[in-house]
Point group: C2
Chain length 358, copies 2
């Protein structure tokens, strides 16, 4: 019964490997990291010894010495929405396959985000890259990141000079307008006018596209038919309640998110109204649950968005490495990130909650 004192000294260090393989630590480091200028035979021997000793470099030591962290940070407004969880899932899978640790940070307000970026938080000492999901990034923030050597890819929002995964939200609005008008609706509402704490421009764009689409199709707008919503279920229910008591209620409503549409559905049921028959309603997201209630919606990738963002980020970080290796000299910081990717695909999914006006 040995006195378990501490678990000190059972972990192999680079020196153990070096002496066991009969080379210097520098060679071990090079060999294991796939750097050039190592004889194939040496490299193999080192690898074998390392494996046998169960060695792998201490991340903290490597970070301290090398200056980068092999860590990516995923920034989200919250983790309990369907869309965001799925994006995170996709991003995490790819990053961790690529050997990166992935940190996650939930942002309650834009103040939280500033704090994350504030000099004193030492973000650049914690992470090599950021995947920011639906949290707006101000121009000076984007620049600050670039100048600090932190790579960035965004999802659902844009950041000047950095790659972004997004869908064409204007087009989303157009599609909704077209679909509803084709069904003969002309008293149409919208749920989801900005009211979020952390406001991105997805709401703004979808709305704009909707408005544009409607007027192009000659449909008159009634501003009172545009109601607030934070993209959650409850907001949707409240919004629908407000719409249904209007002097002249809408015959169709476009909800900027499926979740709000679900709330709206609750309210309709409460009032004995049949979706599609009494009032048409459609959302955006193709939430897993939309199929359950047969909600017409506009579908886009989810995990795909996370994967795509991760891919861009990884590429950017790899490029950064190369750069650093190549030119120790100047290059104006802010040109990283080939920016604007093509918009991700979206498609209208016609289901039962929208139908021709009676």
């Amino acid at each position: 019964m040995r006195p378990v004192t501490t678990q000190r000294r059972d972990r192999a260090t680079i020196e153990d490997v070096a002496s066991a393989a009969g080379v210097s630590v520098a060679t071990v480091s090079r060999a294991l990291r796939g750097l050039p200028n190592v004889a194939t035979s040496t490299r193999q021997r080192v690898k074998d010894v390392a494996e046998q000793l169960n060695y792998s470099p201490d991340p903290a030591a490597a970070r301290l010495a090398a200056g980068h962290t092999r860590t990516v940070t995923v920034v989200v407004p919250h983790l309990n929405g369907w869309y965001i969880s799925n994006v995170v899932a996709g991003a995490e899978a790819l990053c961790s396959d690529a050997g990166y640790d992935v940190l996650i940070v939930g942002i309650g307000s834009s103040a939280d985000f500033s704090r994350l970026l504030s000099a004193s938080y030492q973000l650049e000492r914690r992470t090599d890259g950021l995947i920011v999901i639906e949290v707006p990034v101000a121009e000076h923030e984007a620049e600050s990141l670039a100048s600090r050597g932190i790579s960035l890819a965004t999802v659902g929002v844009a950041a000047a000079g950095h790659p972004a995964i997004r869908i064409d939200n204007i087009e989303v609005g157009h599609i909704a307008a077209r679909h509803l008008v084709e069904l003969g609706h002309d008293r149409v509402a919208l749920i989801g006018v900005q009211k979020q704490p952390l406001h991105s421009d997805v709401a703004v764009d979808r709305r704009r596209g909707y408005v544009e689409g409607l007027s192009e199709l000659g449909v008159e707008l009634d501003p009172s038919m545009f109601v607030e919503g934070d993209f959650g279920i409850d907001a949707g229910q409240e919004a629908m309640a407000a719409l249904l008591v209007a002097r002249i209620p809408p015959t169709a409503v476009f909800s900027l998110s499926d979740e709000m549409a679900f709330g709206a559905l609750i309210e309709m049921k409460r009032r004995g109204l049949e979706p599609g028959t009494d009032v048409s309603i459609m959302g955006v997201d193709d939430h897993a649950f939309s199929r359950v209630v047969d909600l017409t919606t506009i579908s886009h990738g989810v995990a795909e968005h996370g994967i795509a963002a991760a891919r861009l980020l990884l590429a950017q970080m790899a490029r950064g490495h190369a750069d650093r290796r190549a030119s120790t000299d100047d290059h104006q910081g802010v040109d990283l990130g080939t920016a604007s990717q093509p918009a991700m695909p979206i498609t209208l999914v016609r289901r039962a909650t929208t139908a021709a006006v009676r």
Copy 2:
């Protein structure tokens, strides 16, 4: 146009603070970390200087020197289920408020988890504590963690000797049995027999409680009425389809998760069956959308579970610190973690999908 070479040398180090405050680095370190044996005046001065210099310690350096990481790792089977996302959300919030970085790792198979724990991954160099959500932890794994000084708290699964947040899943089964039998059902089914890649015992326990409850109430069991399901929507739909084509279909079904119940609902609608009227169905979780379809379910905390787990973990880690500080000598590793917490509360939520048998 200065040659932006690199962003080197604008970050304050502990030495900058030391010299600016006219003390040694050791004193700065003590002062800033709230250690004893620092004159109040000195401490204040150091703090002021640090603030002014926008100093904060480099995490990698601190980790390397101190041996712990101020990082907690959340381990999940996947991130796209409603329950798990919410648990993660709660845990993340608490841990990051406590000043910990939170890493997230998605486990595809139990092999992935073993890899995480394998000596060569150096988990103890990456994290101080683990929150494991619905990923089974083998006994030797739990011991290994304890001996390596990694704290552990689990959610939805147990790990010998470590605190766990859980609900009484046997009781969940009992509640379901009682509810259905009280409504007069006696041909009852169950959806969700284990079929998951990473199988915990929640399914086993719920089922067992259900079976027990039913027999206690004198209801006969038909094994063919127990069908597989991986807790997702599609599985629920398939399961329900199978049940409905049985020679004698059930009059009520208990789905081990709300999501599977949603799938079942789809199938019922597809066949023109009315939930509650034609067949009663209930789930477990009180998923956000259960309200939308008026699903009877068994509710439990969600974010609360994550928060509770985080709380236990933080306490444990704090205790670990104290221990280390107090006795540099022996103490049998595996006694950390006061283990078994009381089960978290659960409640039956009666809604429209269950009703008295006709």
